[in-house]
């Protein structure tokens, strides 16, 4: 190391490290149109997260590895990826939770892929534009009529509780990119857009519910949902996504009849 630092006994504490193979799906359109799998064998504490492993690979093994992450603590929703075939946030997934460790070696490689259903730009980075377009289409902002009140818009605790679950969304796209309907036809709004519509439709302060319901009554709206529960399983925030979609369907039906 170039910087003089206190010489920590780095060698002393390597017993807890485990050799783990990360099998990462690589794609670089400037090099090849083909994707390929690349193995990285690293020694890492199994209590670390997959994101730490990706950092270790990027910083010490291969600087060309490309992925998104911002806050690295499960809030910004940048690092949703497909880890061992399941959509998760790399920053919330502990290595010990997704691999079996024998001695000090992980028995199976950990597969890391970009989320499905969206165009891969490079390695684990996908084009999120269709996802955010669907989000914008449901008008995710407060719509009211009349004059602006001089005080804040008050709401009872029960009214707030009604849509509490869907306020947790961080727009990571783990749900939408786990949806088999979205995989095949990106015109479907996808679970995330419906969750964020739900957040306003059931907000007592909002008056744009009719417009949002009309948007989601579209042929690519909630009626394409097949209730496979992939989205609920994928959500890193534990939102009951399928339930929210069903509640929007119910609101559409009770509005009509």
């Amino acid at each position: 190391m170039a910087t003089p630092t206190l010489e920590k006994p780095a060698e002393a504490g390597t017993d807890h490290l485990v050799t783990v193979t990360f099998r990462i799906r690589r794609f670089n359109p400037e090099v090849s149109e083909e994707v390929h799998w690349q193995d990285f064998e690293i020694a890492i504490d199994p209590k670390e997260r997959v994101l730490d492993a990706l950092h270790q690979i990027k910083w010490h093994e291969d600087g060309t590895l490309t992925f998104r992450r911002s806050c690295a603590h499960g809030i910004c929703g940048s690092d949703a990826m497909r880890i061992n075939g399941k959509n998760r946030l790399a920053c919330k997934t502990l290595i010990k939770d997704i691999t079996a460790i024998k001695g000090s070696v992980a028995t199976k490689p950990i597969l890391v892929e970009p989320i499905k259903g969206m165009t891969v730009l490079k390695d684990l980075v996908v084009d999120m534009e269709p996802f955010f377009q669907a989000y914008r289409d449901v008008m995710p902002f407060l719509i009211t009529s009349g004059n602006e009140p001089t005080r804040e818009r008050l709401q009872s605790a029960e009214d707030r509780e009604r849509f509490d679950d869907t306020t947790k969304c961080i727009l990571c796209a783990a749900c939408t990119s786990s949806c088999p309907v979205f995989w095949n036809d990106g015109q479907y709004f996808g679970p995330a857009a419906i969750v964020n519509a739900h957040r306003f439709i059931f907000d007592s302060r909002d008056e744009g519910g009719e417009q949002r319901l009309e948007v989601l009554n579209d042929k690519d709206g909630v009626w394409r949902c097949r209730t496979t529960f992939n989205c609920t399983d994928a959500c890193p925030r534990g939102i009951e996504v399928t339930k929210a979609i069903q509640e929007v369907k119910k609101a559409l039906i009770t509005r009509r009849f």
Binding site: E30, V31, S32, P180, G186, R224
Partner: protein, 153 residues
């Protein structure tokens, strides 16, 4: 991009030989069809649930009569059918069952085609085939139920 790019793309990436552009296939562009603003999908969704409930009774009753009661399938003959269709009740039963089953099945297949067909052309022609087959079967079945002649020879 031309076919030459696939293998030799590793070398000589530059201003004259840019990296292949990957168009996002799911962007909402001007060519994206306008939203429908009808309740067709809503009614379709409700129809599937309601017709499903009715069909459970109709189809299970039909199978019971045809295959189990009174000596099973061996009793089914021209005379048996003629005897049943002499009654308006069984004509109505069979007619409702035909229409509900065909529309229920066709709508189910329509959603499966929408979900699984990858290209717009495939989707369109599969649905045209489906609609043609559905209309043909429904009309033929209805025609037979109403014009059935037990004295035909």
């Amino acid at each position: 991009m031309s076919a030459t790019s696939s293998v030799s793309a590793t070398e000589g990436i530059g201003p004259d030989n840019p990296a292949p552009l990957v168009e996002p296939p799911r962007a909402r562009s001007a060519r994206t069809p306008k939203s429908t603003r009808t309740n067709f999908e809503l009614y379709g969704w409700i129809f599937m649930r309601l017709s499903g409930i009715v069909l459970v009774v109709l189809v299970l009753g039909h199978l019971l009569i045809q295959l189990v009661l009174d000596g099973g399938v061996s009793k089914v003959s021209f005379a048996f059918v003629a005897g049943r269709w002499a009654s308006p009740f069984w004509m109505a039963w069979d007619l409702i069952m035909l229409w509900l089953a065909m529309l229920h099945g066709a709508n189910g297949l329509r959603t499966i085609i929408n979900d699984y067909a990858q290209r717009d052309g495939t989707r369109f022609w599969l649905k045209m085939l489906l609609y043609t087959a559905t209309v043909f079967t429904v009309l033929l079945g209805t025609l037979v139920i109403f014009t059935f002649d037990p004295n035909i020879r």
